[in-house]
Symmetry: C2
Subunit: 429 residues, 2 copies
Amino acid sequence: MKSLILSFQIFIMITKAEIIAIGDEILIGQIVNSNASWIAWELNSIGIDVVRMTAVGDSTDAIISAMEESGSRADLILITGGLGPTRDDITKKALCAFFHEGLRLDEPTLNEIKQMLGLRGIPLKEVLLEQALVPDSALAIRNSIGTAPGLWFDKKGKVWVVMPGVPFEMKEMMSARILPELRNRFTGSVILHKTILTQGMGESRLSELIEDWELALPSFIRLAYLPQPGIVRLRLSARGENERMLQQELDEQIHSLQQRIPDLIFGYDDDKLEAITGQILAQYNLTISMAESCTGGYIAHLITTIPGSSKYFKGAVVAYANEVKISKLGVSERSLIEYGAVSEQVVCEMADGARKLMQTDYAIATSGIAGPDGGTPEKPVGTVWIAVSSAKGTTAHKFLFNDERTRNIHRTAITALNMLRKVLIEREK
Amino acid sequence: MKSLILSFQIFIMITKAEIIAIGDEILIGQIVNSNASWIAWELNSIGIDVVRMTAVGDSTDAIISAMEESGSRADLILITGGLGPTRDDITKKALCAFFHEGLRLDEPTLNEIKQMLGLRGIPLKEVLLEQALVPDSALAIRNSIGTAPGLWFDKKGKVWVVMPGVPFEMKEMMSARILPELRNRFTGSVILHKTILTQGMGESRLSELIEDWELALPSFIRLAYLPQPGIVRLRLSARGENERMLQQELDEQIHSLQQRIPDLIFGYDDDKLEAITGQILAQYNLTISMAESCTGGYIAHLITTIPGSSKYFKGAVVAYANEVKISKLGVSERSLIEYGAVSEQVVCEMADGARKLMQTDYAIATSGIAGPDGGTPEKPVGTVWIAVSSAKGTTAHKFLFNDERTRNIHRTAITALNMLRKVLIEREK
């Protein structure tokens, strides 16, 4: 008997979960059911598998039928939508019918709603007080952003969690209160994720380059390629029972990859190149400017999406017309005639010109053919020159992106920011 | 009997459809099931109602169980995903099991694959030839972009359509071949959509302003509010049997709305302000430039996403630092000290400066507090001044957007483009 018990422990308990989204707006295609993806991702990260997602309309019959089916298969059912105060929100009615229950007034919820409305100076409408009514056996889950509480049902070994459909209310409730509770309740396996961000090589070439590393990954670590314009993200997911051991193995694999492709990795998880370069500039008290032709202001836009960027970003010249390149950036007319606007000579003059004009420590310049028109046999659509200028010198590289217009603009901007990052790391260390 | 038949004709036949998406990548939250929304929207526009969406993983059992359930409820079942050439693509296997069929070689599909691969110079791999195998009773639907054909089953009065999961393959196949056939087959009602694009008023104020128009809409026309930063889209959906009559009624309602809010409407359906303003500039042979502070290059970026924008866009100065406003745009130091950077005086000087500097007919300038820091009691976060300058004069307006940083940037850019559009229409007519 003892050996039997021991042998059982090597199995990993997998909790099966299903997600039901309620709302006519999903079924008519007006909104994409992004709530379900977000919930699935979060459940996955605590070791719970989602085996089915369902979306039904604002109809009591449809909700009950979906609940019957999911309840017959899953251990955990998460429901979103239809908890709001308007007439078409009928989820609570369907829950009462499904569980054969009535509604009770939940005093803590009522007090919270009163407090929330009082604080905001909104009059206490009856329709909002109805939000404090919950099915008899439900535990109310606090909603710190909106008035509709979440609901938690424990029925015959199965857990039912009901949340509002408004994404930021659902996410806050799920992160702060539901996920920790689910993790306690379903002590299954642990999944750890780590995403490595690379720039400078396409998905297929990168996968060839790191093929032997990928094939040598242990079986409990999975790799996914997630490409974006100019960036390939490598997501590692490690699944097991021992979190410390998983973390250690993940760190080792990432370390091994870092040694293999040090030039391609620029960050991890939610890092952004515009924030990373901004941090380096701020750290060394440096300033930056741009001379943008084919990117048309997109690099300056990315830089200025970061709060506090005014500390290091002084300005940019978007020089679309050649006359602006000449008169505003000091590009020589001769270079434009001799080499053309999309050339090493001109992009370096643009970068140097911006740096002097804006009186910054560094400057980025771009000049290329974004498309769809303007390509020639020698310089096809997607040909781009990027330069980074500093007092210590000017670096320029040529790229051939060959994409459609918007992708060419995005890839050029991302590549330029990464060039700046590399120059900064090299020169300021 | 005759009257009975006639009375039947006033009922609208509604076809019930369900959508099943297949793929582990959906269940782990790696991708959002946007295929389902797109399909639902398209079905809706030809008068077919989607009553449920389901997503299951790459498992034969899960696929069969989802098919059994959908088949028991719907008249039309659309399935996406799992038709590719890799090992985890098992939809065809599940279809054969579900319909109790084997696979047959479809010659036209084989020829198309051979031709496609031959044209592209790719060697003919066995795994790709397997794509030409289809279930016995299936009609193969041509895939003009990829190698996996779609499948059409007609079984006991129900139609099953199976499509690849790659969005652009699915959309092309559905638009070109499946939707016309479904429309023929399910001769139900027709739905016409028209979206009216408004700028300059928030959703709640707008809905109060047009409430009586909305309430007077005939019952077969529905209105949906679809807000975006700076823009409120009003989508009208008309449903009925007589397309000509529906179109006429829709045109009349839109005409009535145009007369009510002429200043707020800037376009229809997929129109974009950056393209609309670009068309006007090109039409009158005019040029434009920008002086951007809080928008940080985003207006120039929007303008330059439009192919051919180099015809009318000469350049922009992103003037984040005050010293750049002074030295590069000619803003007076006195104005900056006396009124502050976010003021009517300074934004007008910026617009005039850009217009002269870049030698353009028109110039836009923005100056504001995007946030999250930098606000004061007099000028809170979201305070924005926008100016449009031309040889005939300079117009400036103040706005209080009060959003978070990225939304403030987007709203400012959209509002500025619409200000330019109005000035252009007024001055060039």
